[in-house]
Amino acid sequence: MPDLRFTKDHEWVLLDGDVATVGITDHAQSALGDLVFVELPEVGREVEAGEACAVVESVKAASDVYAPLAGKVVEVNQAIIDNPSLVNGDPTGEGWFFRIEPADVSAVAEMMDQEAYAAFVETLS
């Protein structure tokens, strides 16, 4: 199992060396419903932790996606712009959003692990 970490805003983070891949959780994609539009940050953008830096839209509404970590955006997933339904189908795989070079990689270890996130989601229903 990859060591996914989670935020209360329902993003996941996977740290690989000094680059963190970010996406939205299965819970988030399910709550949003069929996604029809994704807007991603520009490569090179410096983001703060908690800053709105991507947008997802379902038929019903637009929602912000937040940067889980401060750092620099180094890559975005063009495939989900072309086909937003990838996020619904494989939110923690092909449906990833962007990659960040975190200012401080140690912030990742402080995030919720799978078990803690599952418990957090339980409290929401």
Partner: protein, 363 residues
């Protein structure tokens, strides 16, 4: 603190069907079922969909002068509404604003009303203050909407009288052995029926319609369908600050009523009809993948602000976003290019005629 949410008589069925429930107008309502909004939307355009719209307000006006009394508050021709027929009309404020839009049916011994859920308190208070005891809310009632090109085929074996109705016809009849009041109308642009039924009978009736092939659909699909059909949502596209003339609802002011001008709000409506509306409700095609939502500023090609979007959705039928909103009258002609300011980016579009998807009402 918010009051606890009300439930419709179909709440247990929604849960059984796996609906995602959301608060809407004080009710816990299904926004979608597991199939999702796009699948539910397409089911309604291609087959038949079943919506629970029991949150809407149902009422009656009784007495021999019910129609004359109601005409004091609405610009529609209610005296001319024949038994077994239904009509769309507006409750207006003293200033000619749209307090609500509603359906009125002449059931011979009474008028029946369907009003918006969010407005029913205001509506019935106003109706009662003007019409007194003749007005009553119809308690313990559910309302189902069966919509789509296959709606009539589903209805026919259960209620032949309903299946024989013309568009905007109304009949009291047994539907699968259950007493109902059915109108041939809806909010999707498709052929279909709205079925008023006692709360206690709502679940078996809904189940028989689902068993016959209707797909359960929630408020999400209801909104995308009505917007494709160019139909207004009160609270978004029309409000107490909207005059019917600028809303493109001049057709709801009956010819006789335009000679009499004797309904509440008539002065302001007449003034705008005669002077011309400063702004108009129009439809937009968005020439971009980015959906444009309510509140989005609209700019002319030269950057002049000319209006605001009141509803927008990525159209599941057309495959591109569509929107509705108000623009200053000089910019309201079909084909006029516009831009929408979406998160700091200019998204191109143009004014197009509505409905976006042709109506397919039975004639």
């Amino acid at each position: 603190m918010d009051a606890p949410l009300l439930e419709t008589p179909l709440a247990a069925l929604h849960r059984k069907l796996g609906a995602r429930m959301v608060p809407f107008a004080g009710y816990s309502m299904p926004v979608q079922y597991p199939a999702g909004i796009i699948a539910e939307h397409k089911a309604c355009r291609e087959g038949a969909a079943l919506f629970d719209v029991s949150h809407m307000g149902q009422g009656t006006i009784t007495g021999t002068d019910a129609a004359a009394k109601l005409e004091r508050l609405v610009p529609g021709d209610i005296l001319g509404l024949k038994p077994g027929r239904q009509r769309y009309t507006l409750l207006l404020t003293d200033d000619g604003g749209i307090l609500d839009d509603l359906m009125v049916a002449n059931m011979a011994d009474r008028l029946t009303l369907v009003v918006n859920a969010a407005n029913k308190g205001v509506d019935f208070a106003r109706l009662r203050s003007a019409l007194g005891e003749a007005v009553a809310e119809w308690p313990d009632r559910a309302l189902l909407a069966l919509q789509g090109p296959k709606a009539a085929a589903i209805m026919a074996p259960l209620c032949p009288e309903a299946a024989a109705l013309p568009f905007m016809g109304a009949v009291e009849a047994a539907c699968g052995g259950i007493r109902t009041l059915i109108t041939r109308s809806g909010y999707t642009g498709e052929d279909g029926f709205e079925i008023s039924v006692a709360a206690a009978d709502a679940t078996p009736l809904a189940e028989s319609l689902l068993d016959a092939g209707a797909v359960p659909a929630g408020l999400g699909a209801r909104d995308s369908l009505r917007l494709e059909a160019g139909l207004c949502l009160h609270g978004n596209d029309i409000t107490a600050d909207t005059n019917p003339i600028e809303a493109g609802l001049t057709w709801t002011i009956a010819k006789r009523r335009r000679a009499e001008w004797n309904f509440v709000g008539a002065g302001a409506v007449r003034a705008m009809l005669e002077s011309g509306p400063p702004r108009l409700r129009v439809g937009f095609r968005v020439n971009d993948k980015a959906p444009v939502r309510a509140g989005c500023p609209i700019l002319a090609a030269d950057g002049t602000p000319v209006g605001t979007v009141t509803s927008g959705v990525p159209s599941p039928t057309l495959g591109h976003p569509i929107a509705m909103g108000y623009v200053q009258t000089p910019y309201a002609a079909n084909g006029t290019p516009v831009e929408f300011a979406v998160r700091g980016r200019m998204v191109p579009g143009a004014i197009v005629p509505m409905p976006f998807v042709p109506h397919r009402y039975v004639r």
